[in-house]
Symmetry: C2
Subunit: 403 residues, 2 copies
């Protein structure tokens, strides 16, 4: 099996495969652009929005960035066979944990075709085979990218079956994929609510979901207004279409007369539509009225829900109820409340006085990421190369037996 | 919810709950023994074997050991809120990972009633609520133990719903349990093949299986005969009914004339029935003929399959095909082959010149274990307190935003 061959490969062979893939991508630019034009034309004909078409685009700039990302993965440490600290037990046994590949990873995703290449590069580097099932809207582009991945792998003598693309048809074949017990070791769905639900409902193999980000910023009593303004603007405006963007602003009610007006003014000026609770609208009449479904909504757009909350406990309750376990920020000057936020919020990344946008594998020092897990087991938050491996125990002795 | 209350508790409160549980167990000994007598009487009437009745027994000795195990868990470090090393990024952000409870853990198991108490103690210490569904054969004992767990929790002011017992009826309620998406964060099935399969087939929540151990010892060319004999005897004879006992002996074919006869003699003298391949029977006629199904069998008894293999590659192939990812041992003098074994065998514990019986949380220094995971994700091998938690990212700043 390809996965067992891959597991045995040393770093040099895997990196050679990655460089060959990058070379193939650059050499076959024209084929990629042509296929991408087909996808874009179909998308336009079907009335896809600007944001979706933008994500679908694989032009010269995106292709070069994608090839460079593959080379960057090649430059990262090989996680396979890396060892944790060894302990010597009283019996003289030497015990440590050593990383091994997971085996075969199924990646089910939507829209952006660079994910096809990114995911394949990371899986290969971690010694895994990968099955890629992208979205229908990018079918032509992904088809060409899949060919180039296989050609690159072959150029470097890696098993060609290490990367396999599944042409998107109906959801039935996703169902079949996620029930391949014994063949598939992990499924990573990355996309919208419908896709994630579908995979989790039908999967019989382990799943690590990359689900939506309903991220909150709680501005605490006594918070620095300038800092809060910087955090809310960066979280909402810098790149509203990504999962670590802010979707809801919570403000301490007693301090809201000081805090909310300047924050709202800055957001409105930046073109953000604000949808607030009654108490917030009493302070800033320019806010629209929030509907119940605005809390918990992932807008991915220049829209922000606003709510005044009684205190830290009420903020924690709100986040527990409406958050999606992604990124949750407190802006505070109070040490004890910061500590409670860190301890009590259950999210893949909990931030104190820092933008939610930092919940990202590159920003947090992982080198690269296959996405951001909102599943708690195995990997919670950005998944780098290590998260694409498992850890086994190793015991070395000189004949020890148990008494 | 009980799980959120539990997640916030500090160590002192949780330990007080564990001590209260131990006190309740000792104070209500008579109730436990009486209930256990009912289970044993029913078991005898249903013709359960000696080994099963033995596992079902909760007499004075087992009860005291169980109470002590709870006190031992209280003595262990609290994994919740423990932090990994912090890094300071160029932006000045301080980044680290902090442990948090998983939430609600469902434990589905068979036979031994001490698992009811052990699992509850470990889950509570790690800040999780637990749903316990034991086997029918131990229903009366588990019912009383469940009451005592709740009473102990109440004595110490912990939420009573933190420990809930599900009375065993049909498998239907296991099916319902493992589909409680949003309520159950993890299911740990621990038991025989039928149970594990059933849970994995129906689960919609994450599952970490504690599956069978089909463990091999490969005796390499040139191995020390005395060491090999000690390892095979300890692995097979010391406690044949446990999952880290040996089930199959692989011997390097070219060196088998030197190695196999003394190993076989020692095993036969210890009362082990040996079932070998043709080549092994040519060397030791006392071996019975192995049937194809002997390879991959988990005997849990004084029976051992034997096979001669051409070389290390053939041993690795055999283990890959028939092993269950539990514990795999090589006995060798050769450094390079030991390294290949460590790197290439995919099992929760890979051992060089040490008994398979060391794959155990206590032996490997975890303090206590909820079992041995044969699932690769999140925890592979003995699961201690840390494995009952997740890790979130924490980012501390002084107003940093992303550029």
């Amino acid at each position: 099996m390809a996965s067992r061959q891959l597991a045995k490969l040393d770093r040099a062979h895997k990196d050679a495969g990655l460089h060959a893939i990058a070379a193939r991508l650059r050499a076959a630019r024209a084929r990629v652009f042509e296929a991408n034009e087909q996808d874009l034309a179909r998308g336009r004909a079907q009335g896809l929005g600007v944001a979706l078409l933008d994500r679908l685009t694989m032009g010269p700039q995106q292709l070069e960035a994608t090839a460079r990302a593959v080379e960057h993965v090649a430059s990262l440490e090989d996680p396979v066979a890396s060892r944790g600290p060894a302990r010597t037990l009283p019996s003289g046994l030497r015990v440590y944990r050593q990383r091994l590949p997971l085996g075969v990873i199924g990646m089910v995703y939507e829209s952006r075709p660079n994910v096809t290449v990114d995911a394949a590069a990371l899986c290969l580097k971690a010694g895994n085979a990968v099955l890629l099932r992208g979205g229908r809207e990018a079918a032509a582009t992904n088809h060409v990218l899949g060919e180039l991945l296989r050609e690159g792998a072959r150029d470097a003598g890696l098993p060609e079956q290490a990367v396999q693309l599944i042409a998107p048809g109906s959801r039935e074949e996703i169902k079949e994929l996620v029930q391949l017990v014994g063949l598939l070791d992990l499924c990573i769905p990355r996309g919208g609510e419908g896709l994630i639900r579908f995979v989790n409902e039908h999967a019989r193999v382990p799943v690590i979901s990359h689900y939506k980000g309903v991220c909150h910023l709680y501005v605490d009593e006594g918070a620095d207004v300038d800092m809060a303004r910087a955090l809310v603007l960066n979280g909402k405006v810098q790149r509203p279409g990504v999962c670590n963007a802010l979707e809801c602003l919570l403000v301490h009610a007693a301090d809201a007369p000081r805090l909310l007006p300047p924050l709202a003014a800055a957001l409105l000026e930046a073109g953000v539509e604000l949808r607030g609770c009654e108490a917030s609208r009493a302070l800033v009449p320019a806010l629209r009225a929030a509907a119940p479904e605005d809390y918990g909504a992932e807008y991915l757009d220049l829209v922000l829900a606003v709510k005044l909350v009684e205190d830290l406990d009420a903020a924690l309750d709100h986040v527990e109820r409406y958050g999606s376990g992604h990124s949750e920020v407190i802006c505070t000057r109070d040490w004890a409340r910061a500590q409670r936020w860190v301890r009590e919020v259950d999210a893949s990344c909990v931030l104190v006085n820092a933008s939610s946008r930092f919940n990202d594998g590159g920003e947090l020092g992982l080198g690269a990421e296959i996405g951001i897990s909102t599943s708690k087991l195995h990997a919670y938050g950005p998944m780098g190369l290590e998260s694409l491996t498992a850890e086994k125990w190793v015991v070395e002795g000189d004949g020890q037996v148990r008494g």
